[in-house]
């Protein structure tokens, strides 16, 4: 401590309006209601209006894909930061959902209205059953094994030449019309997003979060940890499968590329960039990453390099992510105070 050097520290103070809107009294004034509703409205209206604003079919398609990646990212975020299971194999969910929808559509002739929800549910059950033996594993071990699952599935399909082998399943029906195709992923994403946000604050959600914090204490409380993990995995897997099923109907094709790395790594990168554990952050991350990666498409694999590097940079330098940062700026102001 040098003499005369002024010691300062950064202080963060809640904005007045944040404090006023913490309780029921927020309803007393329009300004305060607006303060609460604004971020949510921006998200909802933004996602709904975006397809109308962007030029051309191509970018509308990009937005649809973004929403599907958004589903995957939210699924990853939920599993990693609320349940404590870091899954590096999001592609496994996508692939399972995709193939199930493809089979339901081509073999059983169900319409997309039925295949998408049934693939999500059946896929969720299937993935949960397959992952069940790994649920006691934690940390690195779960991460490693979840990384193996999509690789394994792809290799098995290749080796056994089942489900269309390397060619995939073709001739899948598309969504009935453009509007459905455009808005189904958007609406699903919004519903799931707000549904999950509600879920994690219920008592059930508290237990699931407790599993992440301290599973020993959960066991000591007479709660079956594996059961809760399984339910959480089901929720997360269903979301992934939902994304996969939508994807299959959009591309009208299902193949082993759905088990590809892209579906695992991009949602993770989006989550880290957007803000881990915020659920909304990952969507934000996807809104940034997916269009950029589309723009870089002509550079081939360079885009993977690009978002791998962004991911590393964010993990190391800005691990809180954009959403946490933005939320802090919205609710608090900072000032330097003398010590």
């Amino acid at each position: 401590m040098t003499e005369g050097m002024e010691q300062r520290r950064k202080e963060r103070v809640d904005r007045g309006i944040k404090v006023r809107t913490d309780s029921l009294y927020a309803l007393l004034s329009a300004g305060e209601i607006a303060y609460l509703a604004l971020p949510r409205l921006v998200l909802i209206l933004g996602l709904l209006l975006l397809p109308l604003v962007v030029p051309g079919m191509y970018w509308q398609r990009v937005i649809t894909i973004t929403c599907i990646y958004g589903l995957l990212a939210v699924s990853f975020d939920f599993l990693a930061h609320y349940v404590g299971l870091v899954s590096l194999g999001g592609a496994f969910f996508v692939g399972t959902g995709g193939y199930l929808a493809a089979i339901a559509n081509t073999q059983m002739g169900l319409s997309p209205w039925l295949t998408v929800p049934s693939a999500a549910l059946a896929g969720g059950v299937l993935c949960t059953l397959l992952l069940l033996p790994c649920l006691p594993l934690r940390g690195v071990y779960f991460a490693i094994i979840s990384l193996m699952y999509p690789l394994f599935s792809a290799r098995v399909i290749e080796a056994l030449d089942i489900l269309g082998g390397t060619d995939g399943i073709m001739g899948i029906d598309g969504f009935p019309n453009r509007i459905v195709e455009q808005y189904a992923p958007v609406v699903l994403l919004l519903l799931i997003l707000f549904g999950l946000r509600r879920l994690v604050t219920t008592d059930f959600g508290l237990v699931v979060r407790g599993v992440k914090d301290n599973d020993q204490a959960i066991r000591a409380s007479g709660i079956n940890v594996t059961y809760f993990k399984a339910v959480a995995v089901f929720v997360s897997a269903s979301m992934g499968c939902l994304g996969g099923a939508c994807l299959v109907h959009i591309y009208m094709w299902s193949g082993i590329s759905q088990f590809a790395l892209d579906f695992s790594i991009l949602p993770i990168a989006a989550t880290v960039i957007g803000g881990s554990g915020t659920l909304v952050g990952p969507v934000l991350g996807c809104l940034i990453l997916v269009p950029i990666s589309e723009m870089l498409r002509e550079f081939g694999t360079l885009r993977i390099v690009f978002y791998a590097l962004i991911l590393v940079a964010f993990i190391i330098f800005k691990s809180e992510g954009l959403m946490v940062w933005g939320r802090r700026k919205y609710h608090q102001f900072e000032r330097w105070t003398r010590i």
Binding site: D203, D213, Q216, R219, A220, S221, G222, I223
Partner: protein
Amino acid sequence: MSEEPILIAEEMTKTFGGIIALNRVSFTVNRGDVLGIIGPNGSGKTTTVNCLTGFVRKTSGRVYFLGTDISKKPPHKIADMGLTRTFQVMRPYYSLPAYKNLVIPLFSPRARRTGGWRGGGRLGDRDTVGIDILEEIGFERDSYVPYKNAATLPTGYLKRLELARCLALKPEVIICDEIFSGLSMSEIASMVPLIERLQMDGITLIMIEHRLRELFRVANRVMVMNFGEKLMEGSPEKVMSDDKVKEAYFGSRDIEEVMTHA
């Protein structure tokens, strides 16, 4: 007091690799007992608890609780039957307020089944029940303490929170793993009546302790362990005067000398 055995351990043995952490330990706890387990560090006390509650798989031996064999049951089933424990290293759900910490055990099948707690069905109710339990265990209801984040609570309150977590299950038996350690004298002083209250409520207690003075106040039986074996068992007075115990526990026969220096 009626001699109704509630928890019986038979020849519990646990080896870690080549090390014998627990060597054929047997004991019986009767309903309403307060059994103290004492012994030097590394004598297998916590391993005993882990084996009883299923957190560590026994190498051999059996445990009977309420007449059923629980040797092979997973920890959550054992807790579900009413054999609960606290942890020596407290890890509450740090991101939650103290009373929300109790929502989790209140959500357990046992808490919902045994009812007793008011409500239980609708969502918001568990919050109030949580605060009720916290008040019982010494969190002042009208202060802000129950609403504080568990991460900011001092040790004394964390220990109480651990106890409250067990109480939320309406347990038959609570095993307290070093509930006095790390507390100041005044905190211990306020904790002792709490233990006595639990005993009066008919809860059987097993207490692992290093604070002998307070333990001997509440315990009616004491078991001494050393090197993973049960040295002896008996009333506090008998244990205190036993030469073998003194030697193992204090490394000297002169207990008065050790006590005064401690």
